[in-house]
């Protein structure tokens, strides 16, 4: 069964550093998303991407965040200058009719 994959599974970085989280969505899906889950809190929507552009973003998704689909398969989330409060599990999802989630990348900012 096709699945969404994410790399790395765990990323540790220092405050102020740039990180790129990578996702490979399911190949025939049209919409792509990033969500995050801070430890002990609910899952929050960050951004959706369709037809090679952002279709919707949340208040969390400020100028420090960007997304890109650099080729036909990868979908990336970049955080330019990480803060301690960016520590969270980041989930990628893709959809044709319903959203399928990847296993997540745990980002730890020290």
């Amino acid at each position: 069964e096709p699945e969404v994959t994410q790399t790395p599974s765990h990323q540790v970085t220092q405050m102020g550093q740039e990180v790129i989280l990578r996702c490979v969505p399911i190949s025939n899906h049209l919409y792509f998303y990033w969500y995050r889950q801070i430890l002990g809190q609910k899952v929050e929507f960050l951004v959706s991407f369709y037809n090679n552009e952002i279709s919707e973003k949340s208040e969390i998704f400020d100028d420090q965040f960007s997304v890109e689909r650099p080729d036909g398969s990868n979908f990336t989330l970049k955080i330019r200058s990480t803060k301690l409060e960016d520590s969270a599990m980041y989930f990628c999802a893709s959809t044709y009719y319903e959203q399928y989630f990847g296993p997540g990348t745990r980002l730890t900012v020290t």
């Binding site: 919409y31 609910k42 899952v43 919707e56 959809t95 989630f101």
Partner: protein, 113 residues
């Protein structure tokens, strides 16, 4: 604006007894509703979805949910709990295909032997 409220942060049942996880939603549109499950250190797995067809929705692993518009509820049930059902369950709403998902706070289900 859309939202979901999961009425219990933690539910504990004995193995073999029924499970009820409660969810109320708020939506200006005819919503799509979902239940996702998250096992420890795992990703989010879709259990079932409601998209304006049958109001009683059957999902994987014996779970089902009933959409009640008059009560704005979408409670998740299972007749007999299994130890492997212990996990975090999220009620989720969306207003359109391709639209963002809005998650509830989650309900942690514990299953006692």
């Amino acid at each position: 604006a859309q939202s979901v409220t999961q009425l219990d942060s933690h539910v504990s049942v004995s193995e073999g007894t029924p499970v009820l996880l409660r969810c109320n939603y708020s939506s200006s549109y005819s919503p799509s509703l979902f239940w996702y499950v998250q096992h420890p250190n795992k990703g989010l797995q879709l259990l079932l979805k409601y998209t304006s067809a049958a109001t009683l929705v059957k999902g994987i692993n014996g779970f089902e949910a009933e959409f009640k518009k008059s009560e704005t509820s979408f409670h998740l049930t299972k007749p007999s709990a299994h130890m492997s059902d212990a996990a975090e369950y999220f009620c989720v709403v969306s207003n359109s295909q391709g639209g963002k998902l809005i998650f509830g706070q989650g309900t942690e289900l514990s299953v006692k032997p």
